[in-house]
């Protein structure tokens, strides 16, 4: 039974606080899979978390480039987007294990396409859209 916690984000103004809470709960593990529909705010949440890890540079979506890499004095972060990957083989060919085994933070969007690749322990961060502003964020640890 995975360890699960539920957070409610009522508006964008609360996002920074939510990001801090998530880091507090999850930062023991470095691999986090983000699930949520198009427009749920996966990239927005990952940006907020990364800002709290000291990233100051402009952050953009990695859908086209597959992996964006950010560094701060506190952490190296790989922001990975599996949206364009069709199968496990393609994930292996882009070198996904090099990132997963690096010991650095890996924030991964659309991981459900290749979920069999991820060995526990990792955190699953599910974002559910309640209305235009409100999101329910479910954190579950897979061990």
């Amino acid at each position: 039974m995975p360890q699960t916690q539920v957070l409610i984000c009522h508006s964008l103004e609360e996002l920074d606080q939510i990001a801090k809470k998530i880091l507090h709960i999850c930062s023991q593990e470095k691999i986090w899979l983000f699930e949520g529909d198009l427009g749920a705010g996966k990239t927005t949440l990952i940006k907020a978390i990364s800002r709290n890890l000291g990233v100051v540079e402009a952050m953009s979506s990695p859908t086209f480039g597959l992996v964006n890499e950010y560094r701060s004095p506190q952490a190296t972060i790989y922001h990975i987007d599996c949206y364009r990957l069709r199968n496990v083989r393609e994930a292996v060919e882009i070198g996904i294990f090099d990132y997963l085994d690096s010991g650095n933070y890996c924030f991964i969007e659309w991981a459900e396409r290749i979920v069999e690749i991820f060995d526990p322990p990792y955190w699953l961060v599910q974002i559910q859209t309640e209305n235009t502003e409100q999101r329910t964020i479910t954190l579950s640890k897979h061990e």
Partner: protein
């Protein structure tokens, strides 16, 4: 005589080009036809498949340019930004090739190369000029003072504009990448049929993730009332979204042009193929008395021709790297 072999492998495409004295002789991208000669298959997306493409593509570029390997004065490669695994293949190949020929190496910045692609054609922009670089992964306004003197004066804070096109297409049920389908449908549609709000971003920066969400909610609301809403209105939806994205891009270009008092305006990157962007830019240029530069389509998307022309100017400036050069996925325009 300066002869440069250039290799691009930053993302999906493996490409090779040969340049002689500032003129790009050819620009080959690994395609099925290149591969059929060698009995191989080209996977659509597999960065490590660059390994399979690189030898045939380089071979063909050298053959078609009708040069001998011994005439090559330098080997150029994309050093970044891009996907590490992909960049590594081009870097390792270029290093080995240069070492074998005992010629210098030139590490090229992919984003600068998109801009310098304008110097492949006969009509070249005059310095200083502004370049709007728009693609699936990037959205930037760059102030170009000289070949190798550039400054990013505005960029996206979240999604690239190409991603906004592609994800809108996805929501409309069009295949990925769907930017080109949006463009096609938009030609038949009314750009003022539906309104999407501009996102106010500071200064010369952009934001496109809000538009994506606005389109999503708009489609959800309307398909709830009419399940056939998308099918019945696809041209108008595409035209309206495209008009919104183009308007946001050009608003900042106009602002940059006024601020820097520059009338030489260029566009680069894959999205510069978008006909709505081209047309609106041309209209604005007439009104503002700008000179507008749009590269040939083959030099808009990722290609080695643009790496070759950039390497040529680096060669003239004595800007080489050693055998210890590494790819840098995070490379920025300084």
């Amino acid at each position: 005589m300066i002869t440069i072999l250039a290799i691009e492998s930053s993302c999906d495409e493996t490409s090779a080009a040969v340049l002689r004295d500032g003129k790009v002789l050819n620009n080959l991208i690994a395609t099925q036809s290149v591969h059929e000669r060698y009995g191989g298959v080209v996977p659509e997306l597999a960065s490590r498949a660059h390994q399979q493409h690189i030898v045939p593509v380089v071979n063909q570029a050298i053959q078609e340019a009708n040069i001998s390997k011994n005439e090559i004065s330098a080997v150029a490669f994309t050093q970044g930004p891009g996907l590490l695994g992909s960049l590594l293949v081009g870097t390792a190949f270029a290093k080995a090739f240069a070492l074998g020929l005992n010629v210098p190496l030139i590490g090229v910045n992919h984003m600068k190369a998109h801009i310098l692609a304008h110097f492949i054609a006969d009509t070249k922009p005059n310095f200083p000029f502004l370049c709007l670089t728009v693609s699936g992964g990037h959205t930037q306004i760059v102030l170009v003072r000289d070949y190798l003197d550039m400054e990013v004066i505005g960029q996206t804070q979240d999604d690239a504009v190409g991603e906004a096109f592609d994800k809108t297409a996805k929501m409309l049920g069009l295949p990925y990448p769907g930017g080109q389908y949006i463009d096609r449908y938009a030609k038949e549609g009314n750009p003022l049929a539906f309104g999407f709000p501009d996102v106010n971003t500071p200064d010369l920066n952009f934001s496109f993730s809000g538009i994506k969400t606005a389109v999503l909610y708009f489609l959800q609301k309307n398909t709830k009332e009419n399940p056939n809403f998308i099918q019945e209105n696809i041209s108008d939806i595409c035209a309206s979204v495209q008009q919104t994205l183009v308007r946001i891009l050009l608003k900042k270009v106009r602002k940059a042009a006024e601020r820097y008092k520059i009338k030489e305006i260029a566009i680069a990157g894959g999205v510069s193929a978008n006909s709505g962007l081209r047309k609106t830019l041309q209209d604005m240029a007439l009104e503002k008395k700008w000179n507008v530069y749009v590269p040939d389509f083959q030099y808009c998307t990722d290609n080695a021709g643009m790496i070759a022309i950039t390497a040529y100017y680096q060669y003239l400036a004595n800007d080489f790297v050693g055998q210890d050069a590494n790819p840098d996925p995070r490379l920025r325009i300084a």
